[in-house]
């Protein structure tokens, strides 16, 4: 075990060294003077939390920061608590925040006085994908089978997912709209719980992220029907995309880092460089492949433009769901 570990370490160290040579200026202008707070927009133990802590451990292991990174969970109110906290930290160079899609939906659904355009974008690390799953014991093999079965159920089809207004319910709403069907949406507290209930036969289908369902798929408990991605997912090469089947359904969960308003440009450069090195690390690249995440790295103005565009799309989605938006 130790030798593989050392090999990983030296490879990644070499990669980061090479990177450091390429951007020497950024890292030298400014360095954190005290431990950096990493605010997590979700509670302990969920998918977002797990990923944020994974980032923290890679940063620590690869020595990407001279100061420790301290993860702090502020999951209250679907991330409202974290957003408010970041707003109050204006100009602070020692706070960054790990985001998910509630970064747009929470300010849209509840008036918390936060404008995400004011925050400083740092880096988008990954896009998580969504796949339509059924229990492997069911007769449903294709999307057509699926739509037929849902129609036949007359609205009693049980679709499991995370809380109402969160990602899974948005994907479900997209499905309902596209195929002109209606399902019974059963909310659970986390993606793992959803997958377990699908395997146990308590619900009929789910739109789990592959990372939550791959284990069950490999054990032969779950069957993927179609992916909400433009291209096929590497880990599920036989699963068609919705696009291939003639339906324009794509949805991503973004995993990014942002900073408070008016963070010093030198500090922004420092963190951007840090995440760039993280993105190049072997651990992260292996993880994204195994978990079927898309490591779509994006920074600066491009990232801000992406956030604004996504916010617009989510406002529309929430409207079609009949949710009041601010």
């Amino acid at each position: 075990m130790t030798y593989t570990f050392m090999r990983h370490f030296s490879l990644a160290a070499a990669a980061s060294a090479a990177f450091a040579l390429a951007t020497p200026a950024a890292a030298q202008d400014w360095e954190p003077q005290k431990p950096v707070e990493m605010v997590i927009m979700a509670g302990q133990g969920g998918g977002a939390d797990r990923l944020a802590r994974l980032f923290q451990s890679i940063i620590q292991k690869e020595n990407l920061s001279n100061m420790p990174i301290l993860p702090v969970n502020k999951g209250g109110g679907s991330g409202a608590e974290a957003l408010r906290y970041l707003m109050d930290k204006e100009g602070d160079n020692h706070v960054i925040m790990a985001t998910l899609n509630s970064y747009y939906t929470t300010p849209l659904r509840t008036d918390i006085g936060v404008d995400i355009e004011e925050f400083t974008p740092i880096a988008r690390m990954a896009l998580d994908t969504f796949v339509l799953w059924v229990n492997a014991d069911s007769d449903i093999e294709t999307l057509d089978d699926y739509v037929a079965a849902v129609k036949e159920s007359g609205g009693t089809w049980k679709m499991g997912g995370t809380g109402t207004g969160q990602e899974d319910s948005l994907v479900t709403a997209m499905l309902e709209e596209e195929f002109d069907v209606s399902v019974t949406y059963v909310p659970f507290s986390g993606g793992g719980d959803v997958a377990k209930n699908l395997v146990g036969g308590h619900i009929d289908s789910s739109v789990n992220n592959p990372s939550e369902a791959l284990g069950f798929y490999q054990a032969g408990n779950l069957r993927p029907i179609a992916a909400f991605t433009p291209d096929r997912i590497e880990a599920l090469p036989d699963t068609p995309t919705m696009g291939e089947l003639g339906h324009d359904l794509v949805y991503w969960m973004q995993r990014s880092f942002v900073a408070p308003k008016d963070m010093a440009p030198e500090a922004v450069a420092y963190y951007t460089a840090m995440f760039e090195q993280l993105n190049a690390s072997e651990e992260w690249q292996t993880y994204t492949q195994e978990k079927a995440l898309m490591a779509e790295f994006l920074t600066g103005e491009d990232l801000q433009a992406y956030f604004v565009e996504e916010r617009g799309k989510h406002a529309e989605l929430l409207n079609t769901m009949g949710e009041a938006t601010n």
Partner: protein, 509 residues
């Protein structure tokens, strides 16, 4: 046989000198982390997790298992000595542990907690070793209706108890249920009961905040009042003779310990539940089955033994869905899951087949950690008891500081601190009016679970209430709940009729 071979390989790793050192360090650190109010195994594991990435994975697992178990043992210590639950899993331990300490039996209570934790840990690890794979199917069979029925069962053990004033019990359960609805509703995503528009209420009322308030602060206020000028000094000491007597006493409690372990293991295994409901259920059920239910809450040793066996058994139980299904049964196991991913392991149905070295290494380190924890814990009992000899004026200030720090630590919000103070004063007043506190905390733990599973079932079944009794597992639980609810009533009637017959017969004598 294959199983024994795997286990032997695991032990070969976990018993090396370095790993034994790691276990001792981990257990001791865990014990103190667990004993600090507000800090529990979650915090212990979170603090240590990044360190584990720089040691070999086998040692990392052992360190984490040691901290996990150490913290589960440690939770009982402040519950018993100070009446402040050291962790949410140890709330039920205060019910009888604190009265025992006040009667000068702190040493006995601590021994009971340590031995009970050991027995709970051991029984559950044996169950885990033998039946991990088939038990994973049991966890899968639990959907929302079954979860609801199980929570209902837990409630009836508290409502149906004789002794306490039933009306007051129900009032306190309702109060707890009201508190449990505060915050964002999972089903609709809408905020509920946000008092005074305080953003802190969005994340709900934390169970630990309530428990530290009513038990920690409330208890101190009560003690200050009752002790007035001459504070009651608890003459607590511990000698080898007492240790021996304590162990002999524990030998009589096998029934409670076995029962607590089984409940703990099965409830802990369900992803939605965990060690806190498990400990509360074990407490309620052992009170219900006891011949002297009235002595519970007044320093009955069984009231310490039952929750302590259950919470340790549950901590092992919650590893089961994490390893076999990749679903963490508790926040702590969620962190462990993150750690496993970092070590390049994929938890899930295939873990036992693809990574047997890891799985059996973990299981054997659970045995080792449990054994080390009970020894370190018993060895340190004199030190803990010694803390009680401090002058009350000093102890009282320390307890209040610990309560405040313990309430602030998990979320770093002043909001929680103000709530603790509020709950402390409120709890003190209610206690003066003889309202029981246990149903209040029980309702706050189980309320959200019950509401969620109830609404999930009704949504999924298009509002058909019969869904709860149409499924065999949930129907069984509901039937048992009905029995538990009616049992005290029947007992009462039985006693009444016996008294009547006795009265009829006596003239004939």
């Amino acid at each position: 046989m294959e199983l024994l071979g795997h286990l032997a390989d695991g032990f070969a790793t976990s018993l090396s000198v370095t790993n034994l050192m790691i276990v001792l360090i981990g257990v001791t650190a865990g014990l103190f982390i667990g004993a600090m109010p507000g800090l529990g195994s979650v915090n212990g594991v979170a603090i240590v997790l990044p360190i584990t990435f720089i040691v070999p994975p086998s040692s990392a697992i052992i360190l984490l298992a040691a901290i996990y178990y150490g913290a589960m043992y440690g939770g009982a210590i402040s519950s018993i000595l100070l009446g402040i639950p050291g962790a949410s899993t140890a709330v039920a331990t205060t019910f009888d542990g604190r009265p025992m300490a006040q009667q000068g039996k702190a040493g006995l209570a601590l021994i009971a907690a340590a031995v009970a934790s050991f027995v709970g840990g051991t029984i559950s690890v044996v169950l885990f070793t033998l039946f991990a794979a088939p038990l994973a199917d049991v966890a899968l069979a639990f959907g929302p209706p079954e979860e609801f029925a199980l929570v209902l069962l837990a409630f009836t053990t508290f409502v149906g108890l004789g002794g306490d004033d039933v009306l007051k019990t129900i009032i306190m359960i309702c109060l707890g249920l009201v508190l449990s609805t505060v915050g964002l509703d999972l089903i609709s995503g809408q905020p509920r009961l946000i008092f005074f528009d305080q953003p802190g209420f969005y994340s709900g009322v934390s169970f630990l905040v309530l428990a530290i308030g009513v038990y920690g602060i409330g208890e101190i206020l009560h003690t200050i009042e009752t002790s007035k000028s001459a504070p009651a000094v608890t003459p607590a000491k511990l000698t080898f003779k007492e240790l021996w007597l304590g162990l002999k006493e524990m030998n009589k409690l096998w029934r409670t310990m076995t029962f607590g372990s089984l409940i703990g293991f099965f409830v802990g295994m369900l992803p939605a539940a965990g060690a806190t409901p498990a400990a509360l259920m074990a407490y309620g059920l052992s009170k219900l089955m006891s011949k002297k239910p009235d002595s519970f809450g007044k320093g009955n040793i069984e009231g310490v033994v039952a929750p302590e066996t259950a919470n340790n058994a549950a901590s092992t139980g919650s590893l089961l869905p994490m390893l076999t299904l990749g679903i963490p049964g508790s926040p702590t196991t969620a962190l462990l899951l993150g750690g496993m991913v970092m070590w390049g392991l994929v938890p899930g149905p295939l873990l036992f087949i693809e990574q047997p070295d890891f799985v059996w290494g973990l299981i054997s380190s659970l045995y080792t950690a449990n054994f080390a924890a009970v020894i370190v814990n018993i060895a340190l009992i004199p030190v803990f008891v010694w803390a009680l000899r401090m002058p009350f004026t000093v102890l009282c200030a320390m307890v209040i500081v610990l309560c405040i720090v313990g309430g602030y630590a998990p979320n770093q919000k002043m909001h929680d601190v103000w709530l603790i103070v509020g709950f402390g004063v409120g709890g003190y007043v209610l206690r003066k009016a003889d309202y029981p506190m246990a149903p209040l905390v029980l309702a706050l733990v189980l309320g959200p679970l019950m509401e969620k599973s109830f609404r999930q079932t009704l949504i999924a079944e298009q509002g058909n209430v019969m869904a709860f009794v149409e499924r065999p597992l949930s129907a069984t639980f509901i039937a048992i709940s009905a029995v538990f609810f009616l049992l005290p009533l029947l007992k009462h009637l039985h006693r009444f009729s016996r008294r009547k017959t006795a009265a009829n017969e006596s003239p004939a004598d």
